[in-house]
């Protein structure tokens, strides 16, 4: 009797899990499927393309060259004018090659990667020291600082968007490319720091203090303790925090859209995607393949993180 009950329960559980999975994964499957379909296939509700089409991917990754611009006949006639300099000709042609047509995926990818990785690295570095001081040191105002940091997390980005940009303009940072990038970097760091501090702080607290004291007795200074004991023991959590920060920066559209609006060369992927969506070249397979290519690093990050998230590194050194 009980056996049958457990079997039924197991089946029900499996069905429920499948339903949830299906619900969560469907949009992704849809994206992948559309990115691989030919134009004639778009209306087809089947998830499996009738004919696989990798053109969009090739184009995005720069494997095939973009076609020559289609120039109307009248303009062509204009171009034949011998009085026109080569420079002018090129300028006219460029109008038909509007940047919206091209989606330089590798460039955007590199922009996003560099920006996200640097933001995540700096945020992690600051979080290590901040979280250590919150979890181990006793100083006046510790609680207030600790809560204050979390407080900044409560205010949504949209509310801060305008003041932050104004700040950027006032300080003159928003004028230059590098200044804008720096502002963006700072924003990402500040945005991710509260949660990083919180996550790392809690993890540090779970490391028994006596291990640190043992290291001190073995001749380590405070910094030595952090470097030689705390960091190796926190490797899984450091990885998690890094990935968290990375993904926040990687996915950000809001701040990038205001600070990088005028600097096309420094567009990040979400910004590029958005400009692709609104360009006249917004073809479904391109949009979707760009989305897939944007998702891939995030998925890679997660699968990598999962492998390292086994935790429990500090087990075994103590008698509980």
């Amino acid at each position: 009797m009980t056996d049958r009950k457990t079997i039924t329960r197991k089946i029900l559980l499996a069905l429920a899990v499948c339903a949830v999975l299906l619900f969560c994964l469907f949009p992704f499957v849809q994206i992948l499927s559309t990115s691989l379909k030919h134009q004639f296939d778009w209306g087809n509700p089947s998830l499996i393309p009738i004919k696989f089409n990798l053109e969009a991917y090739k184009e995005l990754l720069g494997i095939t060259k973009a076609e020559e611009p289609v120039v109307p006949e009248t303009v062509k006639a204009l171009l034949d004018n011998p009085l026109l300099t080569e420079e002018k000709k090129e300028e006219i042609l460029n109008r038909y090659r509007s940047t919206g047509d091209i989606f330089p995926y590798p460039r955007y990818f590199l922009n996003s990667l560099l920006l996200s990785a640097s933001a995540a690295s700096v945020s992690l570095l600051l979080a290590v020291f901040g979280a250590y001081s919150f979890s181990r040191l006793r100083f006046k105002g510790r609680k207030i600082v600790q809560r204050g940091v979390l407080f900044t997390y409560m205010i949504g980005g949209v509310m801060l968007m305008v003041p932050l940009y104004q700040l950027g303009v006032k300080t003159g940072l928003a004028k230059s490319t590098w200044g804008s990038l720096l502002s963006l970097l700072l924003i990402y760091i500040i945005q991710t720091l509260p949660v990083s501090l919180y996550m790392l702080g809690n993890y540090f607290r779970s490391i028994p203090y006596s291990i640190e004291e043992a290291a001190v007795m073995d001749g380590c200074s405070r910094l030595g303790v952090i470097y030689l004991v705390i960091l190796p023991l926190s490797a899984p959590m450091l990885m998690t925090v890094f990935i968290y920060c990375f993904i926040i920066a990687w996915n950000d559209y809001l701040f990038a859209s205001i600070f990088l609006k005028q600097f096309h060369d420094f567009y990040t992927i979400p910004l590029g995607l958005q400009s692709l969506f609104v360009s006249k070249n917004a073809i479904w397979d391109r949009i979707m393949s760009a989305s897939v290519l944007t998702l891939v690093p995030v998925l890679l990050c997660f699968s990598f993180a999962m492998r390292h998230l086994t935790g429990g590194l500090s087990e075994g050194g103590l008698k509980e």
Binding site: S210, M217, D218, S221, P232
Partner: protein
């Protein structure tokens, strides 16, 4: 090798003073045991020596140098923690040589020290294991190894055996003794186990409520406890404390008049008044069954002790009994054939009995050994 002095050490956590004016000393090569019940401040004292806590007042002096302001990692002290505190991410070898590597010791030195320590502690086969793969006793040995490879001035042990089972504890106790004999490093050892204190210490410091109650050699403390607390804390089973009245040449216990020995008679001059109420303290081990006493006529007797419980322990027999209404424990010769419910006459040497003041709880005949 170093000597250690604590001078007028006090320590408060917030408003609560946990150590009151501690004065103690460990000479070179000495093994000093701090013993006392939980919360008596012995671990705090140890942490003060290590530098893991700061004294509120007073001085910690190592090798005639005040080290209050010296950071723990500059004090050259090795410490064995109660919970071992091994580095979980390092294997046994890395754990042991961690401190040597920190000081940049040459590889040959590291190798010889590691070799010696692992041989002494029988860790040769475990060097590449992680702490999680070790048993409690092995972890404890690694923690010891971590301390002994260093050329430390002082070894501090914070209840290192309290997490082990009885048999292992016994084994590790001898091991610690052996390590100390081999290295001779001045050691401070904290424990709540009076047996460890007795067996390990060259000198024992008994603490209670943040004060030192008595310090001296283990036998001094066992034979001449300065007050009721020390008398009952040291020694197992603990000393019998019987309500009695002290007269010039006898002591009255539940209506029985027991003549005093010679030494006590001489000491009596210090006691004012006749018929003073006292606590008579006699260790259970010092009793003998009248039939099997060694025949000395100088022995005093407590007659008609009623036996409640007989517990044979192998080598000897422990009895729970009553003198009048007062409970009395005695450890008797294995030959004693007493039964529960019977009466027995117990003999003891009056010179080994103690008289404690019922108000101050001080031992009336032992000059307090407190400094």
């Amino acid at each position: 090798m170093a000597n250690l002095k604590l001078r007028n050490i006090s320590k408060s956590f917030g408003d609560i003073e946990v150590l009151h004016n501690i004065n103690m000393e460990a000479k070179e090569r000495e093994f000093v045991v701090l013993v006392g019940p939980s919360g008596c401040g012995k671990t705090t004292t140890l942490r003060l020596i290590a530098g893991l806590e700061d004294a509120s007042s007073g001085e910690v002096i190592i090798n005639d140098r005040v080290v209050n302001m010296v950071e723990p990692h500059h004090r050259n002290i090795a410490m064995v923690f109660q919970n071992y505190a091994l580095y979980p991410h390092k294997n046994v070898k890395e754990n042991i040589i961690f401190s040597l590597k920190r000081t940049g010791a040459p590889k040959e030195l590291i190798d010889t020290r590691l070799e010696k320590a692992s041989r002494l502690l029988e860790l040769q086969d475990l060097l590449h294991r992680k702490p999680a793969q070790l048993s409690g006793g092995q972890k404890q040995r690694v923690a010891m190894g971590r301390a002994i490879v260093r050329d430390a001035d002082l070894f501090l042990f914070d209840e290192p055996l309290s997490n082990l089972d009885a048999k292992l504890r016994h084994q590790m106790r001898s091991e610690i003794r052996r390590v100390h004999r081999e290295y001779g490093t001045t050691s401070i050892y904290v424990t709540h186990d009076q047996l460890e204190a007795m067996t390990l210490g060259d000198r024992v410091v008994v603490m209670r409520d943040g004060r030192i109650e008595q310090q001296g050699s283990p036998m001094d403390i066992y034979l001449k406890p300065s007050n009721i607390f020390v008398a009952t804390f040291i020694g197992a089973p603990s000393m019998n404390m019987l309500d009695a009245r002290l007269f010039r040449d006898y002591v009255e216990l539940e209506g029985r008049k027991i003549p005093l020995g010679k030494r006590i008679e001489e000491d009596l001059i210090r006691i004012p008044g006749e018929g003073k109420e006292v606590k008579l303290g006699i260790r259970p081990d010092f009793f003998q069954d009248e039939h099997y006493s060694d025949g000395r006529t100088t022995l005093s007797r407590i007659e008609d002790v009623k036996i409640d419980l007989v517990e044979p322990l192998g080598f000897d027999i422990e009895i729970d009994s009553k003198v009048g209404t007062q409970p009395l424990k005695a450890r008797l010769d294995i030959r004693t054939s007493v039964k529960e419910g019977e009466n027995i006459n117990l003999c003891f040497d009056m010179d080994r009995a103690h008289f404690f003041d019922i108000n101050t709880e001080e031992n009336l005949f032992v000059l307090p050994l407190k400094p």
